[in-house]
């Protein structure tokens, strides 16, 4: 225990000395995130400095092994570091799909060369990754994917299309699920890594009903991918994908709300925010606030159950379903309370149509990351054990 206390004191001292003041102010949203990558434009010198100094200590990925660019910290040490960073208001130095998604998969399934090469790049924020999973014909049924990877001896030849690829137009590399065999649905999938600059790769941004989005369509036209860039065994990529999705789900649950979206930004109750001025709207919002506060209690309980190892493994599905549906309702209430003011689309008065755009964007919450219907099916099958689920 004395060691942990020493670690805490030392970490705090180091953070105080090395975290620039600018990096201790609250972020204004996603635009303040540091994504890293070949083409990343740092907002300020301080942002770059913070990334560099944390990366040099391996603290962009504190619990990764040191030989892969990590800090080699234990779980309790990582927790302490996070607490000290939070106490000082330090922004995360690097946000990356490489850290949250690909890294854990490589740590489990990658070869030593792959780990040494890719993980260190991720840790230093040098390479930005995107995820190539869904296709126009493979959404909920992801395993039905058709992007083909033909065996050409020392490389694969990839042809096909991905959709909903977040930040594909800004990413350097992609981790991609491809079909290497048509003989088995789940057993014909492979997990490939390749450069987005490879000849034949192109992207096209997707405009949503709410406006611009980070989503893209990604096209592969005879893209050559060296065989060394296969992660895990050929045709065993579904195992990697499942591991990654499970990890993602756990991560989202760990954020406490099972949705990564939350039940609304400013506090839990809505009434004090929108201040309803007629009895019918007030009643609807009061009913909503009952549900929101009840869900807040559930979120707290869920975190405690997770920590105690008491949560059913399928509970994240229940939380994601309930949390996202609640968030959609919250946006509906905001629109109702906002009347025609909330319908404005791009004025300064309406903060660029924030209410309307948030309302529309929230409709995607119950679709992305596994639709509400899929989540209900998971609860029915794994918790209720209903037949044929």
């Amino acid at each position: 225990m004395a060691d942990l206390e020493t670690f805490r004191a030392e970490s705090r001292a180091w953070l105080e000395a090395n975290c620039p003041a600018e990096m201790r102010t609250p972020m204004r949203g996603e635009k303040d995130l540091c994504w890293g990558g070949r083409r990343f434009q740092f907002q300020t010198e301080a942002q770059k400095q913070w990334l560099d100094v944390m990366a040099s200590r391996g603290w962009t990925v504190p619990d990764w092994p040191k030989e892969y660019g990590g800090g080699g910290l234990s779980a309790p040490e990582t927790k302490i570091l996070k607490e000290e960073m939070q106490a000082l208001g330090c922004r995360p130095p690097l946000t990356s799909f490489g850290i949250s998604m690909l890294g854990p998969a490589l740590l489990k399934f990658g070869t030593e060369e792959q780990k040494k090469h890719y993980l260190t790049q991720i840790a230093r924020g040098e390479i930005r990754w995107c995820q190539g999973y869904s296709e126009p014909g493979a959404g909920s049924d992801l395993a039905g994917l058709q992007t083909k990877a033909e065996d050409k001896g020392d490389h694969y030849l990839v042809n096909g299309q991905k959709v909903w690829t977040s930040y594909a137009d800004q990413a350097d590399w992609i981790f991609c699920l491809v079909r290497t065999s048509t003989e088995s649905k789940h057993g014909g999938i492979s997990f490939l890594l390749f450069d987005m600059e490879s000849p034949g790769v192109s992207t096209s941004p997707i405009l949503l009903i709410s406006g611009t989005s980070p989503f893209c369509e990604t096209f592969f036209d005879d893209v050559k991918v060296p065989k060394e860039q296969l992660v895990g065994e050929e045709n065993k990529g579904w195992d990697v994908a499942k591991y990654l999705l499970g990890h993602e789900r756990e991560m989202i649950s760990g954020m406490g709300l099972g949705s990564g979206i939350g039940t609304g930004a400013s506090g839990v109750t809505l009434g004090p925010v929108v201040k309803p001025d007629d009895p019918l709207t007030r009643a609807e919002i009061a009913a909503f606030d009952v549900d929101a506060l009840a869900f807040a209690a559930m979120s707290e309980r869920f975190i405690d159950q997770l920590k105690a190892g008491e949560a059913h493994p399928a509970m994240p599905s229940m939380m994601k379903y309930a949390g996202t549906e609640l968030n959609k309702r919250r946006n509906e209430m905001v629109m109702a309370a906002g009347g025609s003011d909330a319908l404005e689309w791009d004025s300064e008065r309406s903060k660029g149509g924030k209410a309307a755009r948030d309302w529309l964007r929230s409709k995607g919450n119950s679709i992305e990351g596994g639709t509400s219907e899929v989540q209900l099916g998971i609860v029915a099958k794994h918790i209720l054990r209903l037949p044929g689920a």
């Binding site: 109750t269 009061a286 009952v290 209690a297 309980r301 229940m318 309930a322 029915a380």
Partner: protein, 376 residues
């Protein structure tokens, strides 16, 4: 920490099988209903509660009780709800004990409650909707004591109670919380008219008439004009307790229903295979977990004495009632025709839910409270 402590788990592990066995629907609810019992519950079971130390669960250890809190009482109530066990536990061991604690009247009634010999009721409502501040039943000074005139309704266990805690007005006007006084009125008091009404769930709730009911000064619980304090304690505890019982009703109804989905065959398959039912069942499961969390949160805040307790008590009561209503509705519907028969138990859950929903404030009352406490 919203997981149960080891002691709480032990209590739950003791109480769950006990109430499932001794408090079972056939043994208690149906039995007392079908034999025309006037109390509406069994006194032998109340004695068993006493033997297990449950009747005095909230009574301080210094006064012979278990000295436990709302969380523990909630664990007992969830089982009572799950088994639809008719019992004076909520009104006596929870609401009345909280109202009486610290008062001189506590010395008078706690021993009987501990022994499983005393039952109490709360008389608050004067109209069809719960509205404690609107109490108008008049208590005028007379000599050394008071004389009460007015009426009460929805007094659960009012006809069998040994002592009824009556909210009356000694000052101010209806709508004000100042000027209320809580009185302990004993069974058989002269001028007290008791009309026992059987409710839809077979429980007995009384309509009371007070015709110059004379009480000594020592019948006052707490302070004259200061009745809102003990009344609030009783109501908050009663509401949190009712929320826990409602969660139990929902759990019992849904457990029965999910089991039915795995047994009933139509169209060559188990009806639980139909996706529409799977989704509704999964939705219901989640809602019950959320309601349970809300009830637990309310109980924990009451026990730790935090200011937020009142807000969460209303959240819990409103949420548990809404969710339980969904559970019993889906329960009857998914059972098909047999769900509509008296012979099947599922309909009994629907009837109990309706009564608990109204007790100590309906979901609408409490949603309004949430709005008020949140400042809108």
């Amino acid at each position: 920490m919203m997981t149960l402590t080891d002691d709480q788990r032990l209590l739950q592990d003791t109480v769950r099988p006990f109430i499932a066995e001794e408090g079972a629907i056939k043994k208690q609810l149906r039995h007392w209903r079908d034999t025309g019992c006037t109390d509406g519950y069994g006194t032998a079971l109340w004695k068993q509660f006493a033997e297990l130390g449950l009747t005095g669960i909230l009574i301080p250890e210094s006064q012979g009780g278990a000295g436990l809190g709302a969380v523990e009482a909630g664990l007992v109530l969830e089982e009572i709800g799950r088994n639809l066990t008719p019992s004076p536990f909520l009104t006596t061991s929870v609401a009345a004990v909280r109202a009486l604690e610290g008062s001189a009247q506590a010395e008078r009634w706690f021993p009987g409650i501990l022994a499983g010999e005393t039952v109490s009721a709360l008389a608050i409502d004067e109209g069809k909707h719960h509205d404690p501040a609107a109490v108008a039943l008049a208590a005028k000074r007379q000599g050394n004591g008071f004389v009460l005139n007015g009426a009460k309704q929805f007094v659960v266990h009012g006809n069998s109670a040994d002592v009824i805690l009556v909210a009356a007005r000694t000052a101010g006007s209806a709508g004000e919380t100042d000027g209320l006084t809580l009185f302990a009125v004993e069974k058989g008091a002269s001028g007290l008219g008791v009309e026992a009404a059987a409710l839809a769930d077979s429980s007995k709730a009384a309509r009371l008439s007070f015709d110059n009911v004379a009480l000594d000064a020592d019948a006052v619980v707490g302070e004259v004009d200061g009745g809102w304090a003990p009344l609030s304690r009783a109501l908050n505890a009663g509401r949190a307790g009712a929320a826990a019982e409602l969660v139990g009703v929902a759990a019992g109804a849904s457990e029965m229903t999910f089991e039915y989905l795995k047994q009933r065959k139509q169209f060559g398959k188990l009806i639980g295979e139909f996706q529409a039912l799977q989704h509704r069942a999964a939705h219901l499961y989640g809602e019950i977990e959320i309601a349970r969390a809300a009830a637990l949160k309310a109980a924990q805040l009451l026990d730790s004495g935090e200011a937020q307790a009142e807000l969460y008590v209303s959240v819990a009561k409103a949420k548990a009632a809404r969710v339980s209503a969904l559970a019993v509705q889906e329960g009857v519907q998914m059972h098909g025709g047999i769900g509509m028969t008296d012979e099947h138990d599922i309909g009994l859950y629907m009837k109990r839910e309706a009564v608990l929903s109204e007790l100590f404030g309906s979901p609408r009352f409490h949603a309004n409270r949430v709005a008020e406490l949140s400042g809108y």
